[in-house]
């Protein structure tokens, strides 16, 4: 195979330098820290590693992390589909505002996202007295953690879907309608297959963030061990208590999750491209 002749051909030295800068940067800031995490985690051997990740508090943190993701991701899916559908298919008053507000959680610091829930549901908050009267706890309890996670992650699916849905347009859906399909049939047979790769990609990113979120969750958690600690919070506590090996062992779980997510994401992208290629052949 011969390399295609490029319209913009840089001298070899420039190309080598650019590639080298990129590679060194990736090595320095991504590979080395990641390796360090695993090195530290396994410092005292596999047995200590297993013990650190399976002790009750760590196990509880894993469970809570999975729970928040299990709630946040489906909600995100619903919201993302609804928002993308509405903004790409209809003109309505407030459409521009909605499109801007979707990005809000990206724009504000996660700490502020957490504070918002304290101000709303905390003891001195707006709804605090009513919640106390009904013996409901939101802040410093699991519901608050879930709420904060949902808030922080809600742009992910919508952001991925909106451009895809805008690009596919409405003609196929109109065609389906003329052919007699109901709204639900149009959604399952036409809309969803056309956006599935974008949707899956959004869900993967959303899941990664839901499991890894620290700031917002930290503010509303109250750090009650074994009750309101997710994995990232658990790592922080261990670290502050100088249990470095245990901290890194738990951190390695999160790192593994990140690596796993990247692998799945690449697979999805690869499958999506393959599907496109197959369609074109």
């Amino acid at each position: 195979m011969t390399a295609p002749r490029r319209a913009v051909a840089e001298p070899a030295a420039v190309r080598v330098a650019l590639v080298a800068v990129a590679l060194v940067f990736v090595a320095l800031f991504l590979v080395v820290p990641l390796a360090a995490v695993f090195a530290q985690a396994l410092e005292k051997g596999a047995r200590a590693y297993v013990a650190a990740v399976s002790e009750p508090e760590a196990a509880s943190a894993v469970r809570l992390t999975l729970l928040t993701a299990a709630v946040a991701v489906p909600l995100n899916l619903l919201f993302g589909l609804a928002a993308a559908w509405a903004t790409s298919r209809f003109e309505f008053p407030g459409r521009g505002v909605l499109l801007t507000l979707i990005d809000l959680p990206f724009a504000v610091s996660p700490v502020i996202s957490g504070m918002v829930f304290i101000l709303l549901f905390g003891r001195q908050g707006l709804l605090g007295p009513w919640l106390a009267a009904h013996d409901l706890r939101v802040v410093f309890a699991v519901p608050g953690m879930v709420l904060a996670t949902v808030f922080v992650t809600f742009p992910f699916v919508a952001r991925e879907l909106i451009p895809v849905m805008q690009a596919t347009g409405t003609e196929e859906e109109e065609a389906a309608r003329v052919l007699g399909a109901s709204g639900l049939q149009i959604f399952w047979r036409v809309t969803l297959p056309n956006v599935k790769w974008g949707l899956l990609y959004g869900l993967i990113l959303c899941n990664a963030r839901a499991m890894g979120e620290f700031g917002a969750v930290s503010v509303v958690s109250g750090h009650i061990r074994g009750v309101t600690n997710t994995l990232p919070l658990h790592v922080e506590i261990l670290y502050n208590e100088y249990q470095f090996q245990a901290a890194f062992a738990c951190a390695s779980l999160l790192a593994l999750l990140a690596v796993g997510t990247l692998v799945v994401k690449s697979l999805v992208e690869w499958r999506g491209r393959a599907a496109l290629r197959q369609a074109a052949e």
Binding site: E174, A175, V178, L179, G180, R189, P193, N194, A279, E281
Partner: protein, 357 residues
Amino acid sequence: MSIEVRSVTKAFGGFVAVRDVTLTVGAGELLALLGPSGSGKTTLLRIMAGLEEPDAGQVLLHGQDATEADVRRRRVGFVFQHYALFRNLSVFENVAFGLRVRPRAARPPEREIRDRVMSLLRLVQLEAMADRRPAALSGGQRQRVALARALAVEPRVLLLDEPFGSLDARVRAELRRWLRRLHDEIHLTSVFVTHDQEEALEVADRVVVMDEGRIEQIGTPEEVFERPATPFVTSFLGRVNVFHGRVEAGRALLGPLSVPYPEHPEPDPRPAAAYLRPHELELSREAGGDGFWATVRHVYPAGGSIRVELADDERRLLEVELPRQRQQEIGAAVGDRLYVRTQTVRVFVTAKETGTP
């Protein structure tokens, strides 16, 4: 089945796309909606289909008011300009779609679906492509899949939006003749939208010429071409030379032309214009009949005929189209002075208050 449109109006925001249009499409007829872009022809078609709701007026299908009827209940076949094939489904499944989404009670059994889809694919000559995805087909093939898909649900009328718009010239000519033959076989009431006058004149039983949301003229292809009702129709249907001037005291004085105009015997002048088709003008070396002298500026060979561009004594340009044989006889060359003889002169009084010309 007939389609009746009664005083339909539709606006998008401040833009009025269709203004008070009334139109009847006879059962079994093939009708063309012809007009430039923005003339409201596609909107009118979408209103017939039920894809747009009119702001005012009614749509009747087979004599029954369908204005409020949902698209799903109208049983219309619609072919979209860009085909709108389902990209994730095979050609076969695209055609089968309308049958598969029916409620269980009305859905034909699998065998019947298979038979019907395959016979439609035979009809559009795409049997061999049944398993392909739409992306793997050429434009003309996609168009035929779209047509088969629309026909699969046994529609009562067939509506086509710029059906040949995005095809190259050769495929387009082939496909429109094929559509005409298909229509002659199945006699399905059909309406198609086009901006190509040649296409409309060649294929349709009747042509509806639209401009700025209004119907300018309805008639057979001969009628609209030979006897255009308005200046717009004249200039839209083919090339035309326009001479501006006036009518007064029973004559029309239009640029180099002076012809009788008995419709306006009064002495007060009114602005008017003459519309002359290039092929309706004759060139000769000697004077005779209504006409004027002009000088040849360019000679363009245009396939079977020759286009000659001339300028009259006041440097007004005009174009004459000659059969190749006639050019061999007179040998028009740049700089020659030739006599331009007119046969039919269409005069339109342009002042609005006089109404129809």
